[in-house]
C-alpha cells in the first residue's frame, strides 16, 4: 500500500506528467501513420529514455503504447487501412460510419471507448499487480524455470503463423541471449574470441534492429497510392445518452480485453475480434453490425486499450512479457540496467509503481490529446510512407549508437534488422524471438539454481506441483498444434 502511494506521488511530478503527455502525443501520432506499429515506435524511441530517470522513461513508453493503440484505429476509421493489427476490427463499423459522413462521431466513439477500456485495464493492473508481486516473491527457482518455459512456449505457439516457426524463433532468441560471458561459471559462450561479444548482445540493440529496419524496408517495397480522406465535418464527442447506451458493451469488451492481455501470446488483435463477436452476440440489433453501428466500434476499441493494463500484469510482476510490445517496453527498464523478473515489484518498487500509475493517468491524457488530435488526423494520414523510411533508419542508427556509444552496436542492430526482414519474408514471427531474448537469462539462472539445489537431478522439476502443472500446460500448448493432437481431437469428437 505504501509503495502504491509513493508511486502515485512519483507520477504526479511535473516531469513525469510532462513525459507521459509527450509519450501519448508520439503514440497517437505514430500509431496513426500508415505502416507504423506501436512496437516499432517504442523500440525506436527507447534510446531517448536513456538520459531520463528510469521511472520517467518507462512511463513515457507506456503512455506511448496506450496512445498507439488508439492511433492505429484512426487510420482504420478514416481510410479502412488499420495502422495496427489490433485496429482491424475497428474498421468494420468505423469505416462504414465515415462513409456515411460520420467520421467525427466514429473517432469520438473510438476515443471514448479507448479511454474507458484503458482506465478499466489500468484499474485491474493497479489492483492485481501489487498482489501478484507479493506472490511472485515466494516463487522458487524451480517454479521460475517452469514459468519461463511456459512463457516462451505459449508465445511461440500463439503467435501468427505456424507453431514450428514460432518455436524456432523463440528458441533462436533464447540461444542468442546466452551469447556472452556466463555469469555463473565465467565462461565466455559463443563469443568466438570476439571481445565485443563478451558482454553479450544488448537486448535494446537487437530489438531496435528487429522492429525498425524491416518496417522501413517494408515501407519502400511497394508503391502505394495516396488515399483521399474526406474532412471531418460532424460533431466528435458522443452525447451522454449515446455513451450510456454503450455502457454494457464497453464494460464487457474491456473485461475481455484485460483477460486477453493477461494471457501471454494473445494481444490487441485477438481481444478486438473476440469482443466484436461477443458484442454482436449480445446485441439486440445484430443486423446493424458491419453497417456503421456504434456498438461494433466501441467493442474492439475499448478491448484493445484494455489489453494494455492486462498485458502489463505478467510483464512487471513476473518479468514474462506477453507480447512483443510489452517485451520492448521492458527494454525501457533494461536500458537502465534493471532486469525484469519476479523481484521487480519489490527491488525496484519506485519504478514499478510509478509505471502502474502512469498507465492510469495516461488515459486522461489520451482523452485530451486524442480530442485535439482529431483536428490534424486527416493531414497525418497523407504523409507518404516513403518519407518515413529514411527517417526511421536515421533514428535507429543514432539511437543505437547512443545506447553504448558504440558503432559495433549499430552494425549488430543492422544485422538483426536484416534477420528480421528475412524472417518476415519466410513468415517466421519475430515476437517469440524478442521474448526469448528476455527470458534466456531467467531460464539459464533458474535452471542452474534448481539443479544445484537438487545436486544435478533433473527430477527436481517434478517435485514442485506448481512447476509440474505449468510444464504440462507448456507441453500441451506445443502438442496441440501437432497433427497427432488433431487426430485425437477428431476421435474425441466422434
Amino acid at each position: 500500500m505504501e509503495d502504491l502511494l509513493v508511486g502515485l506521488g512519483n507520477v504526479l511530478s511535473f516531469s513525469n506528467l510532462f513525459f507521459i503527455a509527450v509519450g501519448m502525443t508520439l503514440g497517437i501520432f505514430i500509431g496513426s501513420m500508415p505502416g507504423l506499429s506501436a512496437t516499432m515506435a517504442i523500440a525506436i524511441l527507447l534510446p531517448l529514455t536513456y538520459g531520463m530517470d528510469p521511472a520517467t522513461g518507462i512511463s513515457m513508453l507506456a503512455a506511448l503504447y496506450m496512445g498507439a493503440m488508439y492511433g492505429g484505429s484512426i487510420l482504420a476509421i478514416l481510410i479502412n487501412t488499420p495502422g495496427t493489427p489490433a485496429a482491424a476490427a475497428s474498421g468494420l463499423d468505423g469505416y462504414k460510419m465515415t462513409e456515411k459522413g460520420q467520421a467525427g462521431k466514429a473517432l469520438g466513439i473510438s476515443l471514448v471507448s479507448s479511454v474507458v477500456g484503458g482506465l478499466i485495464g489500468a484499474i485491474v493492473l493497479l489492483t492485481i499487480a501489487p498482489l501478484l508481486g507479493e506472490v511472485a516473491l515466494k516463487i522458487g527457482a524451480v517454479e521460475l524455470f517452469a514459468i519461463a518455459v511456459l512463457g516462451i512456449t505459449i508465445i511461440s505457439s500463439l503467435s501468427a503463423g505456424s507453431v514450428v516457426k514460432g518455436l524456432l524463433s523463440g528458441t533462436l532468441g533464447l540461444l542468442i541471449s546466452l551469447i556472452g560471458m556466463d555469469l555463473i561459471t565465467g565462461t565466455p559462450r559463443f563469443t568466438f574470441g570476439n571481445i565485443y561479444l563478451f558482454d553479450g548482445i544488448s537486448f535494446v540493440v537487437a530489438l531496435i534492429g528487429l522492429f525498425s529496419v524491416p518496417q522501413a524496408l517494408r515501407l519502400i517495397e511497394t508503391d502505394k497510392e495516396a488515399v483521399e480522406v474526406s474532412k471531418i465535418k460532424d460533431k466528435i464527442l458522443p452525447s451522454w445518452k449515446e455513451f450510456v447506451s454503450l455502457r454494457m458493451t464497453l464494460l464487457r469488451s474491456s473485461v475481455i480485453g484485460v483477460f486477453t492481455g493477461l494471457i501471454p501470446g494473445t494481444g490487441g488483435d485477438t481481444a478486438s475480434w473476440f469482443s466484436y463477436n461477443e458484442a454482436k452476440r449480445f446485441s439486440k440489433e445484430k443486423e446493424k453490425f458491419g453497417t456503421g453501428h456504434a456498438e461494433g466500434l466501441a467493442a474492439p476499441e475499448s478491448a484493445n486499450n484494455a489489453v494494455v493494463g492486462g498485458a502489463l500484469v505478467p510483464t512487471i510482476t513476473l518479468g514474462i512479457p506477453g507480447s512483443s510490445t510489452t517485451a520492448v517496453l521492458l527494454g525501457g527498464l533494461m536500458i537502465h540496467g534493471i532486469m525484469p523478473g519476479p523481484t521487480l515489484m519489490t527491488e525496484h518498487a519506485g519504478v514499478a509503481y510509478t509505471l502502474l500509475w502512469a498507465v492510469f493517468f495516461s488515459c486522461f491524457f489520451l482523452f485530451a490529446l486524442g480530442l485535439l488530435y482529431t483536428k490534424v488526423a486527416v493531414g497525418v494520414t497523407k504523409v507518404p510512407s516513403k518519407v518515413l523510411a529514411p527517417i526511421i533508419i536515421l533514428l535507429c542508427v543514432i539511437g543505437t549508437f547512443a545506447v553504448h556509444n558504440s558503432m559495433v552496436d549499430v552494425m549488430i542492430m543492422l544485422g538483426f534488422g536484416i534477420l528480421g526482414y528475412l524472417m518476415d519474408k519466410l513468415n517466421i514471427p519475430v515476437s517469440p524471438m524478442v521474448v526469448g531474448l528476455i527470458l534466456g537469462a531467467m531460464l539459464d539462472t533458474s535452471l542452474h539454481t534448481s539443479l544445484k539445489i537438487s545436486g544435478g537431478d533433473w527430477m527436481v522439476f517434478l517435485s514442485s506441483p506448481v512447476a509440474v502443472i505449468l510444464l504440462i500446460v507448456a507441453l500441451i500448448t506445443v502438442l496441440q498444434s501437432t497433427p497427432f493432437f488433431g487426430k485425437l481431437k477428431s476421435l474425441v469428437a466422434k
Binding site: 556466463d182 519502400i220 543492422l414
Partner: protein
C-alpha cells in the same frame, strides 16, 4: 524462388549455426554448456520440422485449395490473414530494397569517419530522392531539418552521444 527452396536455405542456415554452436559448446564446463546444448538440439529439430512442414504445405496447396468452415472468429482471423497474404503478393521491388539497404550500410560504415553532420543530410537527401518520396526542395528541408532536430534531441536535450566523426 519457390517456398520450399526458401525454407530449405533457411533450415540449412539454422542447422549450420546449430553445428558450429554445438562444437563450440563442447569445450565449456558442464554447467555452462547444459542449457545451450539443449536449445541447440531443439533448434535443429525445429529447423528440420520447418522444412518438412513447407514441403507438406506445398503438396497440399498443389492438390486443393482448402476451404475453412470454422466459426465467426476464426474465419475473421483467417480473412485478415488472407488479406495480408494478398498484400504480400504485390510485386516487391527487390532492386529498390537492395539499393536502399546498401545506402543504409554505407551510412553506417562511413558514419564514424565522415561524421554525423556531413553524412546524415547526404543520406537523408539521397534516400528521399532515390525513393522519389518528395520533390527536391522538400527533400532538402527534411534532410537538414532532421539532422538538426535529431542532434538537438539527443545531444542537447538528453545528453546522449552522437558519432561526430573526425572533422568535428
Amino acid at each position: 524462388m519457390t517456398v520450399v527452396l526458401k525454407h530449405s536455405i533457411a533450415s540449412a542456415l539454422v542447422l549450420a549455426m546449430c553445428g558450429i554452436f554445438f562444437i563450440e559448446s563442447l569445450s565449456y564446463p558442464v554447467t555452462a554448456a547444459r542449457l545451450p546444448q539443449i536449445l541447440i538440439v531443439i533448434l535443429a529439430l525445429l529447423a528440420v520440422l520447418m522444412l518438412v512442414e513447407s514441403v507438406v504445405r506445398q503438396r497440399k496447396q498443389n492438390k486443393l485449395d482448402e476451404k475453412t468452415e470454422d466459426s465467426g472468429l476464426v474465419s475473421k482471423v483467417q480473412s485478415t490473414k488472407e488479406i495480408n497474404e494478398i498484400e504480400k503478393k504485390e510485386p516487391i521491388k527487390i532492386k529498390r530494397v537492395l539499393i536502399f539497404g546498401t545506402m543504409i550500410a554505407l551510412y553506417i560504415f562511413l558514419l564514424e569517419t565522415l561524421g554525423y553532420f556531413i553524412l546524415t543530410p547526404l543520406f537523408t537527401f539521397g534516400a528521399l530522392m532515390y525513393l522519389k518520396a518528395t520533390n527536391i526542395m522538400m527533400a532538402i528541408i527534411l534532410a537538414v531539418g532532421f539532422t538538426v532536430v535529431i542532434y538537438f534531441l539527443f545531444s542537447m536535450l538528453l545528453n546522449v552521444p552522437i558519432p561526430l566523426g573526425i572533422f568535428f
